[in-house]
């Protein structure tokens, strides 16, 4: 152990650079591979497609960065997204007879999604902080609950948005300004705000302090319970935002909506260089992590060298590699 740390100490400068630059280099390499393999890779259509599909996981992963930085974890976000989507569609369908196919229905639907996200996040947060149950257990439980609830709401099938409403709501996913579609714009705004909050506000610093050593944070009069609860609430709200962008895409929700989103979001956070045990997080890294994961899938789809069915295997290798690199980085410091 001591020899290992001395070795690492001698090469510290290089290690830290790799820790910072690693995800960016990986992203650049992937883009290079993509360009080399398919001339269509850089086309407007492909780029827009990759980014818009990344947006849902990306928005959630920004919230996940805060939860993990503060030493927590949330496994329930995929199920939560499915449940909120189901709830939102149900509410909108219920309102159509009385309010007609109007903008008002969409606004109420959006409000329902955001409120449900807030409440769901608060439940996770309060169970972790007030009841003192481990985050892994709490969110494993709520993950099962939400998945089951959406299956029940859909009666085992699919909840579909009223056809007319779907036409009205569609532009939220498919349109945009200046050729940039709304999901990409929203993802960018969330990411930029997230980066600012993480690096430049007391809340972000407090998250890192709690994740680094909760006792020290408590003795330093940081409102530990409030900050930790807020990270889960923030994540819940962002799940709501992701759902608002997701529902117009297909106009439906089923038991398989949002399946494995939690794992993709957590993977993106870790690939981006946030420490799984907490104490250090960076939102820009998470954004890079999300892009890396979606580009792998995209490249496999565009080329026929490797079967797209191996997408998950390659993502898995990347995640493990990222953590191995991270551990080397942390022994150096």
């Amino acid at each position: 152990m001591s020899t290992a740390s001395t070795n690492a100490g001698a090469r510290r400068g290089m290690k830290i650079d790799l820790h910072v630059l690693g995800p960016i280099l990986a992203l650049v390499a992937l883009i290079g591979i993509g360009i080399a393999l398919n001339s269509n890779f850089l086309s407007y259509g492909n780029i827009t497609n990759v980014l818009a599909r990344s947006a849902f996981i990306g928005i959630i992963a920004v919230g996940m960065t805060f939860v993990i930085t503060a030493g927590g974890l949330d496994l329930s976000v995929g199920s939560m997204a499915a449940f909120i989507a189901g709830l939102m569609i149900l509410c909108m369908n219920l309102l159509v007879p009385s309010m007609g196919q109007s903008l008002g229905v969409i606004l109420i639907g959006i409000a329902v999604a955001l409120a449900a996200g807030l409440v769901a996040g608060a439940i996770n947060g309060l169970l972790v902080t007030r009841a003192g149950i481990e985050a892994f257990i709490v969110t494993l439980g709520t993950m099962g609950i939400y998945r089951s609830l959406v299956t029940w709401l859909a009666d085992g099938g699919t909840l579909s948005l009223d056809y007319g409403m779907r036409e009205l709501y569609r532009p939220v996913y498919y349109d945009g300004i200046l050729g940039v579609s709304w999901p990409i714009i929203v993802f960018a705004i969330v990411a930029i705000l997230g980066e600012i909050v993480m690096r430049h506000t007391a809340f972000g610093r407090h998250c890192a302090a709690i994740g680094s050593n909760e006792t020290v944070a408590r003795y330093s009069t940081v409102a530990v319970t409030r900050v930790k609860t807020l990270t889960y609430i923030l994540l819940g709200c962002l799940v709501g935002v992701a759902v608002v962008m997701y529902v117009p895409r297909l106009g439906s929700a089923s038991a398989s909506t949002g399946l494995l989103w939690e794992l993709e979001a957590i993977a993106a956070v870790i690939i981006g260089g946030t420490v799984l045990k907490g104490g250090f997080g960076r939102v820009w890294g998470t954004v890079v992590g999300v892009l890396i994961l979606s580009l792998i899938g995209n490249i496999l789809n565009l080329t026929d060298m490797v079967s797209p069915y191996l997408n998950g295997a390659i993502q898995g290798v990347i995640i493990i590699l990222a953590v191995v690199l991270q551990r080397k980085g942390s022994t150096a410091t």
Binding site: T201, A209, T215, R218, Y219
Partner: protein, 500 residues
């Protein structure tokens, strides 16, 4: 006189450049109970660990039955019948009592464990110790004294020639200690040699046959128990020149700034009352585990408490440490690394953590933070190779100064400083004493918790001494002597009745 079982011959021990034991000669004979006493930091634990094979001496030798014995680790010592029970328990919390007693030495029948025999044996052992714990109970579910008994049962279950116990009674009540002593006497009568440390001098008188007194890493007195009165032991333990380490003492003003009445901290402190005057440096003495830290953490709101606390004339709510900070009352922890500083973060992040809201409007003003760090580095003489260094890489003294700076950034009126100089070299100690003094001159009121007698005596004009969760007494002015503090701390001559 019987030949010693285990002996130290001219043993010294250094940690890095610091020698903590200087040429110690010591012997432990079969059929005796030997007490090792001394102040915190005198080298008792180090000496015991050398005897138990946990540490090897830097100079001199350990002799077992007159032969040079170089135990390379504790397992070798245990194989030779030398068993040590640590102050911190060495138990697997999730295993049962029986599993712990026989851990690593399980009784087998063929390839299977012989649960029946092990249970029966551990039940017998626990009953002999009058701890009625079923052998199948998980260790995490039993009380602290019961854990101590499990440790002792573990030792008793082996062939013990030498039993070394580091403060075995610190966590036991008087009655539990009696039971332990009965077993200790039984072992002694069977010919075992027993070494133990205790801060409770009445216990030493009761159980020990011989006494060795350590001070500053050297044996200063040794002899049969009948040669020592309890007072003589206390006198031998203390007696050290502390003349110019400390600035001149100062008494506080008349205004009472903090008052605690009948404060209970569940499980640690009962019925504690105290008062602090403006500009005073008040001392809290007592042994480790007497409830000093817990009382102060209770007052400031880090632990639940009952009773009333009045700060600057108005009552302070319990359990709200942020409120206490806002009203100018802060606590500086004794646990620098576990509760005081974020070791993997920079100086700045640590410094401004408690008052980060002052620098965030709403974005953190990094220039103002840098200016605060500059000021802290100058004011508290923090010596760092670079400002970006992680706090975990600083020396203990610089960490402590940073922790002081962090605490003072809250601009408090009342500061509790718990063990201000633990693990710090003498030069930095003096600086810290001067800093504490300066704070008092600025009109702040300071409570110093210390296990180091010279520190209490050198800094404080008034001292409360705690013993077993109570405030055992109050000493003022010329009454503040090592002798008086030790008497109160060890439960001799409690003033509790008179004070009340």
């Amino acid at each position: 006189m019987t030949a010693p079982t285990l002996a130290l011959h001219d043993v010294s021990k250094s940690f890095g450049p610091i020698e903590v034991l200087h040429g110690v000669d010591f012997d432990l004979r079969p059929g005796e109970v030997h007490a090792l006493i001394g102040e915190n930091g005198a080298g008792k634990s180090t000496m015991m660990k050398i005897l138990g094979g946990y540490l090897s001496p830097t100079g001199g030798e350990v002799r077992l039955d007159g032969q040079r014995a170089a135990f390379s680790d504790s397992a070798e010592a245990e194989a030779a019948g030398v068993i040590m029970i640590h102050q911190e328990f060495n138990l697997a919390d999730h295993l049962s009592v029986e599993q712990n007693v026989f851990l690593g030495r399980e009784i087998r029948r063929g390839i299977f464990l012989d649960h029946k025999t092990m249970q029966a044996k551990s039940r017998d052992l626990m009953e002999a110790l009058e701890a009625r714990v079923p052998p199948r109970t998980r260790v995490s579910d039993i009380s602290v004294p019961e854990k101590q008994m499990v440790e002792i049962a573990k030792a008793l279950s082996r062939n013990v020639r030498v039993l070394i116990m580091d403060e075995p009674t610190a966590v036991l009540t008087g009655a539990e200690a009696r039971v332990l002593f009965k077993q200790v006497r039984r072992l002694r009568d069977e010919g075992a040699a027993i070494l133990f440390t205790s801060h409770k001098l009445d216990e030493v008188s009761e159980i020990a046959d011989r006494v060795t007194v350590l001070r500053d890493g050297a044996v200063v007195a040794q002899g049969g128990i009948d040669e020592f009165t309890e007072d003589a032991m206390a006198t031998a333990m203390v007696g050290r020149d502390v003349s110019d380490l400390f600035p001149a003492k100062r008494a506080g003003g008349d205004e009472i700034i903090l008052e605690a009445a009948h404060v209970d901290v569940p499980g640690h402190v009962t019925g504690a009352s105290l008062s602090l005057r403006k500009g005073e440096i008040l001392g809290i003495g007592g042994l480790v585990g007497a409830g000093r830290t817990e009382l102060m953490e209770g007052l400031v709101g880090l632990r639940p408490r009952t009773g009333t606390v009045t700060l600057k004339g108005t009552s302070l709510p319990g359990g709200d440490v942020a409120c206490a900070r806002r009203r100018g009352f802060v606590y500086l922890t004794e646990d620098r690394k576990g509760a005081g500083l974020l070791l993997d973060k920079s100086l700045t992040e640590n410094l401004t953590l408690p008052v980060l809201h002052r620098y965030a409007r709403p974005l953190i003003d990094r220039k103002a933070e840098a200016a605060a760090l500059d000021k802290a580095i100058t004011d508290f003489d923090i010596r760092v190779p670079s400002r970006d260094v992680k706090v975990g890489n600083l020396s203990g003294g610089n960490q402590q100064k940073l922790l002081l700076a962090k605490t003072m950034l809250c601009d408090p009126d009342v500061v509790v400083i718990d063990e201000p100089t633990r693990g710090i070299d003498i030069g930095t100690k003096q600086q810290i004493y001067t800093l504490i003094h300066r704070l008092a001159e600025e009109g702040r009121s300071i409570i110093v918790i210390s296990s180091e007698m010279p520190e209490l005596i050198g800094l404080c004009n008034r001292v409360y001494v705690m013993h077993g969760g109570h405030v055992a007494g109050e000493l003022t002015g010329s009454e503040v002597t090592e002798d008086n503090v030790i008497r109160l701390a060890t439960g001799l001559g409690s003033q509790r009745e008179d004070a009340a």
